[in-house]
Symmetry: C2
Subunit: 192 residues, 2 copies
Amino acid sequence: MNAKEILKSHILKTAQLNDEQFDYLFSHFKPLLFKKGQAIISEGDKVEHEYFVVSGCLKAFFINDEIKMYILQFAMPTWWTSDYGALYNHTRATISVDCISDAEVLCLSNDDREKLCREIHQVEHFFRWRTNRGYLASQKRLLSFMNNDTKARYEELLTLYPQLYNLVPKHLIAAYLGVSRETLSRLYNAQK
Amino acid sequence: MNAKEILKSHILKTAQLNDEQFDYLFSHFKPLLFKKGQAIISEGDKVEHEYFVVSGCLKAFFINDEIKMYILQFAMPTWWTSDYGALYNHTRATISVDCISDAEVLCLSNDDREKLCREIHQVEHFFRWRTNRGYLASQKRLLSFMNNDTKARYEELLTLYPQLYNLVPKHLIAAYLGVSRETLSRLYNAQK
DNA sequence: GGCCTTAGGTGATCTACATCACATTCTGCA
DNA sequence: TGCAGAATGTGATGTAGATCACCTAAGGCC
């Protein structure tokens, strides 16, 4: 499947769009290719776009005190990512996005999303549904943070996204779990 | 302001509805009164509704191992709450909602929300925007959890919601911050 | 008003995890 | 192919916060 087909099947799961409508929608997306390690959004940038991942893996992260990195989201194919706070409030990026592997993405501007939502009711429906998913995932993660210890969260992550284990270096998994890489290393070496 | 006016001014900030449309929308809401301590959603319940707070204060919480309570959200006037996971996925409640003080709420069923979103584009717009807010708040809280220690999170909470300090017992604030009541007590007694 | 339940404070102790320090691979690339 | 930097493992030690135990104060309510 190419990028257009992947986006189409992703959106049609939720919204009813005819071909003409989808083509119109799609015409607002810009395909982009990135190399492993490349930055897409850096702290302090103006943020005008959000990104739909076609292939590869991105990470959205926050860096505290110029030292510690916390990963908010690994963005896998069919996931969306951006610094949504900055995007919606027209502020500078506090969250950065870069590529864990080579990646193919579709890029949509905030203005175009809002325009499309106004023009096509079903597009607004799709984005409501999508944000909903994100909200529920975020709440679930918050609960998991409060409720579980690191080991349980590590196992939960691997159950949820088994691909991550091979794709993503361990220190990034630690940054997602919010523990030091040393602690994570000890954890899964102890449990043989 | 009465319940209808409060909801109206809340929604009109985001969506453009004429009086007729708003009256139609409002006709799907059911006003309810609750007493301090009363449960609105209990673990295991079928969840069919979400709730808009007109006055008073609710909490949405999760209880782990029948012992520890974690508060996901304090719901103040003009906030919405429910067990959204259960509501959208038609599963039983894992999150409970009850009243910290006497409360007046407006109750909307999931079916009616979806129907209204289908019928009135601006209503869908409103709910997209609302979920968005929730998503951003939840992400921010997640980051704060990873990044800050308890004391910083406590101060952040009081800055964000100064009313809570008087309204809400301290052990509930501890349950929101995800620390023991003892630790919280020591924290703010030490800082004189 | 008295009683019981709930809220809150405080000391002693325990523990998960951070931090620092250093050794050991692995990997990309000149 | 060899070398620098990144990723990972592992010990020693420090610390925030949990847990347990107990005490006091403050509400509801008969």
